[in-house]
């Protein structure tokens, strides 16, 4: 099924230069021939109204166009939007900007990286942003969160509530709101409201669960996880079956990608992965499994845990017939000890994630597939494609 969008702007009369009529017709499953006839018919019809002038008829076809609103507004960027977003429209185009302004985004886990991401996406001008994090504000969270001032009245308010106020202020055109509650308790109809879901600081089980809930919906939801430890960061992306346009030799071509779910991706045997996959990928899996086995909250580790983490690495590597030296002790130690985020890395990972979400919403440009790693120690920002080659991908 695809949708066809007509945007017929009828001429502005010179008698009343403010008069303008926009007409939008939504049509399902039409082939191009009747459409051509239809536009001819409209032209004839309009010629009857001598005071109107037909300006243009444009057809756009896309699977990514969200359901159209019938009405006079919402299709063209306002003057205010064009002025505010001028510099970025020059990067991604007015069409992408319109799609951004109609997208709905959910984030959960408001630590430094996600706060950076929220700032980026609110500035970019998404339609709405929903924040989920019921944690109270700690001294530590305060020191690395530029959305909360120390003199704000923090008593009895959650991280999400406090961040919400500042984000609203960044861009009055974006609806920012708070959703209380446990992420894993929400049902499919809750997730159905969103186009993009970003989760951070949650358990392995929760990541898998939310990812599956999104996948079960008929609507395609872009799912991301993001985590930073020490001076390292990881992004995971699941865009399911994704179609997008990209420029090649000055032509726009359609391209398709198939993504595995988080569960599918991490189940791929380590030995079958290409050589030289980032060591961070394996190290993060070890930490994740450790926290799950010990029933810890994400980031609840210390140097005292290192022997047990190393033991778990040994077990996992043996089970996978994988060389332990691929996951260095020093790297695991950094991840176990460095539970506080490093602000420059938050800015970098939050920036990359923002860019990826903008790409996914606009359907423009090569999206990241499907893991991204950054380590300030070597300065590399690497994309890894962790997908089973048998299942497409």
């Amino acid at each position: 099924m695809f949708m066809l969008e007509f945007n017929i702007s009828l001429g502005r009369t010179y008698l009343d230069r403010k008069f303008k009529l926009g007409l939008y017709v939504l049509s399902l499953g039409w082939t191009l021939r009747p459409i051509t006839k239809f536009t001819k018919f409209l032209k004839l019809l309009l010629e009857g109204f001598s005071f109107l002038r037909l300006y243009s008829i444009s057809l756009t076809r896309s699977e990514l166009v969200p359901p159209l609103k019938l009405g006079m507004d919402g299709e063209e960027l306002t003057e205010q939007e064009t002025a505010l977003y001028d510099r970025q429209i020059r990067v991604w185009g007015a069409d992408a900007q319109r799609r951004l302004s109609k997208s709905h985004i959910l984030v959960s886990g408001l630590k430094g990286t996600v706060v950076e991401f929220c700032k980026n996406i609110v500035l970019a001008g998404v339609g709405s942003l929903t924040l989920n994090d019921d944690h109270p504000v700690t001294e530590e969270a305060l020191s690395v969160n530029f959305l909360i001032a120390p003199d704000d009245n923090v008593a009895g308010r959650s991280l999400a509530e406090l961040c919400c106020d500042s984000l609203k202020d960044f861009n009055p055109m974006v609806r920012v709101s708070v959703e209380k509650g446990d992420l894993s308790s929400f049902g499919g109809d809750f997730y159905d409201k969103f186009d993009v879901v970003v989760v951070s600081c949650c358990s392995l089980a929760t990541k898998k669960l939310i990812n599956e809930k999104c996948r079960k919906l008929s609507k395609r939801i872009a799912f991301y996880t993001v985590d930073c430890r020490d001076s390292c960061g990881e992004i995971f992306v699941d865009l399911q079956d994704y179609t997008y346009s990209k420029k090649k030799n000055d032509e726009t071509i359609e391209s398709q990608l198939q993504y595995p779910s988080f569960e599918e991706a991490i189940a791929i045997p380590w030995r079958s992965l290409p050589r030289r996959v980032s060591k961070l990928y394996f190290a993060m899996r070890v930490i994740e499994r450790f926290e799950e086995a010990e029933g810890r909250n994400p980031g609840e580790t210390s140097i005292a845990d290192l022997p047990n983490v190393l033991k778990l690495r040994k077990e996992l590597c043996e089970a996978q017939s994988f060389n332990e030296s691929q996951i260095p002790d020093s790297l695991l130690e950094r991840l176990v000890v460095g539970i506080r985020e490093f602000p420059p890395v938050c800015a970098i990972i939050g920036g990359i994630l923002g860019q990826e979400v903008i790409k996914a919403i606009s359907g423009k440009g090569d999206p990241l597939k499907n893991f991204f790693f950054f380590d300030a120690m070597d300065g590399k920002g690497i994309i890894e494609d962790i997908a089973n080659t048998n299942t497409g991908g």
């Binding site: 010179y14 429209i89 007015a94 530029f146 938050c346 990359i352 860019q355 090569d366």
Partner: protein, 654 residues
């Protein structure tokens, strides 16, 4: 998380940030969160609406206020315990001298222009303070570290010359929309509304074939009591009709080109309607001249729309009329400004009408504004990423961790799986006139060129000096300063108008001139070589500076030169863009007004193996062959496009 050593280095550091714009806002925030305690920030700009989509420390209510000050206040709200000092000033002000720079442990640049970058680079070299330099455009960006004697300075790599076009392409044979924009902006707009006395090629072209009666006088002069509508149409017919007819008579030009089509107002349908709604008084209540708009008066709203010939013609006439009716006082002294709505409308319409003549596609006002105003594409995400990378490098600098310094490129398409690509910094370029003592060579006609030409075209434009002092041996030829004796100042003024060979201490072939900038503490020697003839089109300055050189604008030419010389990655001149040692395609990233060669990946080890003499000889050979070319190339321009892969200027080296 930062280690203990890192934290103590951060806490004890005093840093200077230059620029509180796109990168600056992100950087100030990241520095504060990372624990920096003493930050100084300089920015001369005030806040504009188009900043708000990415400069997140600013709000609508701050428009018009100092960026440095508002950024400081905003960051102190969430980090009240740190010290931030703001300067609403130009970094080139004499107050920011070498002593000022010496108080800092590191300088972090978030600038948007070549001029200021070069200036800061020189002060950092003079003060021996490490510099972390950065730039972004669209999804592309880079961070580099410059430390005197250890890594190359900012000016060791050639920077491409600002884009210029041959005069005849603009006046007679445009083939791209940008040519029409340049014509509309630099010739027509200036002719109509700017300084009438300025030399203007439009004037030349208009009159040279028109010595006959009707066009003998200045057609651009509005006759006494001439109706504004009639005047507008007369100008229209002259520039889009008559001038094209004149050009067509030159058969030689059109042998291998499509002949342009003259356009007269009578050929354009429906422009008569303009009289019906010509009552401008009703529309503009406000007296703000910048709010006057032909689009508003004609009921056109969307700047993204591509107008028809009819609409362009109506905008052209309406904008012209509005200038004369609403902004008459400014006529004669206007210069094009991308934030002047009416000027942008006039230039867009004029460029589009000219484009029709030459079979070039129409562009929207939005696109035309971007081209005419050289607007740099900018998004928050890239600036955030770059700010993180700057802080990471700054911390290494503070810890004196030179072996781990990296230049990092933020790419749009991954190279070797990398979106963020670190590269080892280059060694200083031994022939760099800024950070080494290698003399430059100037070819000039010493019997024709005046000292003024040398000062303006070479010392200021090419060497980027603000307060130059020029010496021949021990004889002072020229000096700039507030505290000059009257007679000295008169002497220098007199010298400016003398040709080089007739100066009190004559400058001829073989002379060595010393040029210094006292503020930048930069001094360099220039060997003078006399040359009789220069090509007016290709060498408009009438003098050629080499030794250090600007990057030739033509990519293909670069490749050809390097292969002609058999230059390989390890021993070629650093001044010539090289083939990279990477297999993958590498992009050159545009940063504001300039390029940085990401593909040029020499490593310190490679360079140190190459003998200095080799470097020099290759450089000399390439310089002599590298005659400036016709600049009408295909890829060296920021073109605006909806797709994000094409939005930035990119070149590929293989």
């Amino acid at each position: 998380m930062a280690t203990k050593q890192q934290l103590s280095a951060i806490k004890g550091a005093k840093v200077l940030m230059v620029g509180a714009g796109g990168i600056g806002c992100e950087l100030l925030k990241t520095l504060a969160l990372s624990g920096f305690q003493d930050i100084h920030i300089i920015d001369m700009d005030t806040i504009e609406v188009s900043n708000l989509n990415r400069q997140f420390l600013f709000r609508q209510s701050h428009v018009g206020q100092s960026k440095a000050k508002v950024a400081r206040d905003a960051v102190l709200k969430f980090s009240p315990q740190i010290s931030i000092t703001s300067y609403h000033a130009n970094v080139k002000d004499p107050d920011f001298n070498v002593d000022f720079f010496k108080q800092f442990n590191v300088v972090l640049n978030g600038l948007d222009n070549l001029d200021a970058r070069r200036h800061v680079n020189r002060l950092c070299l003079a003060a021996a303070v490490p510099l972390v330099e950065s730039g972004t455009t669209g999804f592309l960006g880079q961070v580099t570290v410059h430390m005197k004697g250890k890594t190359e300075c900012y000016e060791c790599q050639p920077k491409p010359a600002p884009k210029t076009y041959p005069v005849c392409t603009i006046t007679s044979t445009p083939s791209k929309f940008v040519h029409c924009i340049v014509w509309a902006k630099d010739l027509l707009f200036t002719k109509m509304f700017g300084d009438k006395n300025q030399e203007n090629d439009l004037n030349v072209r208009s009159s040279d074939a028109s010595s006959s009666s009707e066009h003998a006088e200045d057609v651009f002069e509005r006759k006494t009591d001439e109706d504004i509508e009639q005047y507008g149409k007369r100008i229209y017919d002259h520039v889009f009709g008559y001038n094209i007819e004149v050009a067509l008579t030159n058969e030689e030009t059109w042998k291998n080109r499509n002949r342009p089509r003259p356009i007269y107002i009578r050929d354009v349908p429906s422009t008569e309607l303009i009289q019906e709604n010509g009552n401008v008084d009703k529309i503009f209540v406000a007296d703000d001249p910048l709010s006057v708009s032909a689009m508003a008066s004609l009921g056109l709203k969307n700047p993204q729309d591509v107008w028809s010939l009819m609409e362009n013609s109506r905008i052209f006439l309406e904008a012209l009329k509005l200038f004369f009716v609403k902004r008459e006082k400014e006529i004669g002294r206007l210069t094009f400004d991308k934030d002047d709505q009416l000027a942008v409308e006039f230039v867009t319409a004029a460029a589009n009408i000219r484009a029709v003549s030459f079979g070039i596609p129409f562009h929207s006002l939005f696109e035309a504004k971007g081209i005419a105003g050289n607007i740099v594409h900018a998004v928050a995400t890239t600036n955030a990423i770059i700010s993180g990378l700057i802080v990471i490098e700054a911390i290494k600098v503070l810890q004196n961790d030179a072996s781990n310094y990296r230049m990092t490129y933020c790419l749009e398409h991954p190279s070797k799986k990398m979106l963020l690509m670190p590269v080892e910094p280059f060694e200083p370029n031994k022939s760099c006139y800024v950070c080494s003592e290698t003399p430059l060579l100037l070819e000039v006609n010493t019997y024709r060129s005046k000292l003024r030409d040398f000062v303006e075209k070479i010392v200021k434009a090419k060497l980027g000096m603000n307060f130059p002092l020029i010496m021949h041996g021990s004889a002072l030829l020229y000096e700039v300063g507030d505290d000059l004796e009257e007679d000295m100042a008169a002497n220098y003024a007199a010298n400016l108008d003398k040709v080089l060979s007739e100066l009190p201490s004559p400058v001829t072939g073989g002379t060595i001139l010393t040029v210094e900038d006292l503020q930048q503490e930069l001094s360099c020697n220039i060997n003078i070589k006399h040359r009789e003839e220069f090509d007016e089109e290709k060498e408009p300055d009438g003098m050629i500076l080499s030794g250090w050189m600007q990057a030739p604008p033509k990519e293909k030419e670069n490749n050809k030169i390097s292969s002609d010389n058999g230059a390989s990655t390890s021993n070629a001149s650093p001044a010539v863009p090289l083939e990279t040692e990477e297999d993958n395609e590498i992009e050159i990233v545009l940063t504001g007004a300039e390029n940085v060669a990401a593909g040029n990946k020499r490593k310190l080890s490679d360079i140190s193996n190459a003998a200095t003499s080799d470097l020099c000889s290759v450089a000399d050979k390439t310089n002599s062959k590298n005659k400036p070319e016709e600049l009408d190339d295909d890829d060296d321009l920021v073109m605006l496009d909806d797709g994000n892969s094409n939005t930035s200027k990119k070149k590929r080296l293989r």
